[in-house]
Amino acid sequence: MDTTEIIIKPGASALHYWRDIWRYRELFFFLAWRDILVRYKQTAIGIAWSVLRPLATMLVFTVVFGKLAKLPSNGVPYPIMVYVAMLPWQFFANSLTESSNSLIDNANLLTKVYFPRLIVPAGSVIVGLVDFFISSVILGGLMVWYRFVPDSRIFLLPLFLIMAFMASFGAGLWLSALNVKYRDFRYVVPFLVQFGLYISPVGFSSSIVPADWRFLYFLNPMVGVIDGFRWAILGDAFPINWPGLSLSCFLVALVFVGGLFYFRRMERSFADVV
């Protein structure tokens, strides 16, 4: 029998928080599992949707930026260059969209059951991650098609994936908590995602940004993530800008830690406000 004592008093929710998260890990997986299961129920082509969307965007970008605008791709096939950036971007965009609405969508749970609220947006990011792995199959296909072989740097890719995860989760924490109180963020997020696609180097290489501005360009943390992905997969054609990457890393860490603190602070009142 579990004889631990729970103490409930104003402001004391922090006491066993991290242990509780561990204890509720199964619920966390169940919520992610539910979202994945439900996602493509009653759709004709099902899971193919998570492949189709980045693929279609990639084709459009290749035609518009590669063929019409004739932007450089540093010797790498344009579709591969776009798709390598598309993967982390889609992961970020999907996770952000899903997690920012996650608390409101699960309002009935928040007001009826206790669990560490953190697992709700975290579950949404996991769903985004699953989509990421599914759509990366296409990247393999593209590489075979263009006979492109990455070098050993690809083993550093997980590091950049972690960075993408932290950026998505951190921003997701901020937006989900803000969304509970200020429903305005429901309109901010789609705009942010749409806007972000163009200010991040998804359809083009960040090398076309003038050298004087390149460091500042990394103020958008997704620039660091995308450049990291390109560097790890495509190799020397896309050299990394280390000061810029450090700036992006620092900002991701800031967003993540800030998001965590803000979420924890707001969490107590979720059930009363949502």
């Binding site: 029998m1 579990d2 004889t3 631990t4 004592e5 729970i6 103490i7 409930i8 008093k9 104003p10 402001g11 929710s13 199964e26 619920l27 169940f30 539910r34 299961l37 439900v38 129920k41 009653q42 009935n108 749970l109 928040l110 007001t111 009826k112 059951v113 206790y114 669990f115 109180k181 200020y182 429903r183 305005d184 963020f185 107590r268 009142s269 059930a271 009363d272 406000v273």
Partner: protein, 419 residues
């Protein structure tokens, strides 16, 4: 027996916003504009704290609540709607934080504040059992162990792999109950969840809960308006009124006290202005108010109201039975074109012939299309004792909430013997 829950000076404050035109949630626009306004006022040297904001009002849903629960106790929580019962349960199950005070709980708490929390319509019965179980705090191993038992209990074997959106509402509720009934935490917190579902299944669930708690010494906190259910399931009771504890002790004493303390008639004592109820009581044919009637009495509801300006004003009453089911209702405008200005008495006959023996409550409200002027969930109460039913005299419970107002007729068929 050791103490498993101790509650000390618990309080919960809500801020009520009186802004009917605005959305229930805060929009960033309002925060920004309010912020700028406040800033501007501070610049001009006019102090304006948010406390004096007339649009906000403090409301204590619970105040200075203290009690203790020993291991194995089965405690019923009694109180009218809005007394703070649900708030108390929400604090105990850690959904919301108290404003003051402290609670100590030893053991794993599972709360059942709603049947079928987290059920997803697109998922199948099987998937929902696992999901709902996890939400209620069961581990996967635990659910797997009890899976067959749950399916048996819910009687839905055939539909296990059908999405629950295709279930009938009865099947849905049965499945939800079945998962909940197999929870085995050390402390179980249950809100009025038995109010849905058919009577037979309710009994099955109550039986299961009683089983679990008596055999295995689990602690149960149970909120219900169903006094009969409380009496069978609980040993102790806590009565809450307007956020304060009124009584702690034996369940039978508490139920009796609670029923006695209900207003048998209503007399306005506060200083409410405007359209309002002044006095409401149940009277007999000669106008004598009472609380207990038999089927041979004629009963009337006597309502004295004050109406300022009768344009489009409605005044209505609803009769509830002891398990909180609204039975019949009526509105003054059902009879009259308009209400009368000033103080007037309206009387309405209560259809005794429709009612079984039991305890009844009258709810009433005065409203127009814009606002509610006065309302009370508990204007008055009365008991009806029927002496004409042989079935009831034998102690058999009647089926249904109402009875046929007419007598059976008998016609003897002569000379024939049934084939």
């Amino acid at each position: 027996m050791s103490t498993v829950i101790s509650v000390e000076n618990l309080g919960k404050k809500y801020l009520l916003k009186h802004q009917s035109s605005r959305q229930p949630y805060v929009a960033l626009r309002d925060v920004l504009s309010d912020g700028i306004k406040n800033f501007g006022q501070r610049l001009l040297g006019r102090g304006n704290s948010s406390l004096s904001d007339p649009a906000q009002e403090e409301f204590w849903a619970l105040k200075d609540v203290s009690f203790e629960v020993k291991q194995g106790d089965r405690i019923g929580i009694i109180g009218r709607n809005g007394a703070g019962k649900s708030t108390l349960l929400k604090i105990l199950s850690r959904i919301t934080e108290p404003t003051t005070g402290c609670v100590r709980i030893k053991g794993r708490v599972a709360s059942l504040l709603e049947v079928g929390t987290g059920f997803h319509p697109e998922l199948t019965g099987r998937e929902n059992i696992f999901l709902n179980g996890a939400i209620l705090g069961m581990s996967r191993a635990e659910i797997r162990k009890k899976f067959d038992e749950i399916v048996d209990f819910a009687e839905i074997e055939k539909f296990l792999d059908t999405p629950v959106k295709r279930y009938s509402s009865g099947m849905y509720v049965r499945l939800a109950f079945a998962v909940a009934a197999h929870l085995e935490p050390e402390i179980l917190v249950v809100d009025e969840v038995l109010a849905v579902g058919d009577a037979q299944f309710q009994k099955k669930c109550l039986g299961k809960m009683e089983d679990v708690s008596t055999k295995e010494g689990r602690t149960v906190l149970f909120v219900s308006h169903n006094m009969a259910a409380l009496r069978t399931l609980c040993t102790q009771a806590v009565e809450i009124e307007k956020g304060n504890i009124k009584f702690v002790g034996d369940v039978d004493a508490a139920v009796q006290r609670y029923l006695q303390n209900e207003h048998t008639s209503f007399v306005r004592r506060d200083h409410q202005k405007g359209n309002r109820f002044l006095q409401v009581s149940v009277i007999d044919a000669v106008g004598v108010p009472g609380e207990t009637f038999t089927e041979s009495n004629k009963m009337y509801l006597a309502v004295r109201v004050f109406i300022e300006c009768p344009k489009d004003i409605h005044c209505g009453v609803t009769l509830y039975n002891s398990v909180n089911v609204p039975l019949i209702s009526s509105c003054v405008l059902d009879t009259f074109g308009d209400m009368q200005a000033g103080v007037s008495n309206y009387t309405l006959q209560i259809p005794v012939e429709l009612l079984h023996s039991g305890h009844y409550r009258v709810e009433g409200a005065i409203w127009d299309q814009y606002r509610v002027y006065d309302n009370s969930e508990n204007l008055c109460n009365f008991s009806l004792v029927r002496n004409d039913s042989i079935l009831e005299a034998k102690g058999t419970e009647s089926r249904g909430f109402l009875r046929f107002p007419y007598d059976w007729r008998l016609e003897t068929v002569r000379g024939d013997i049934a084939p």
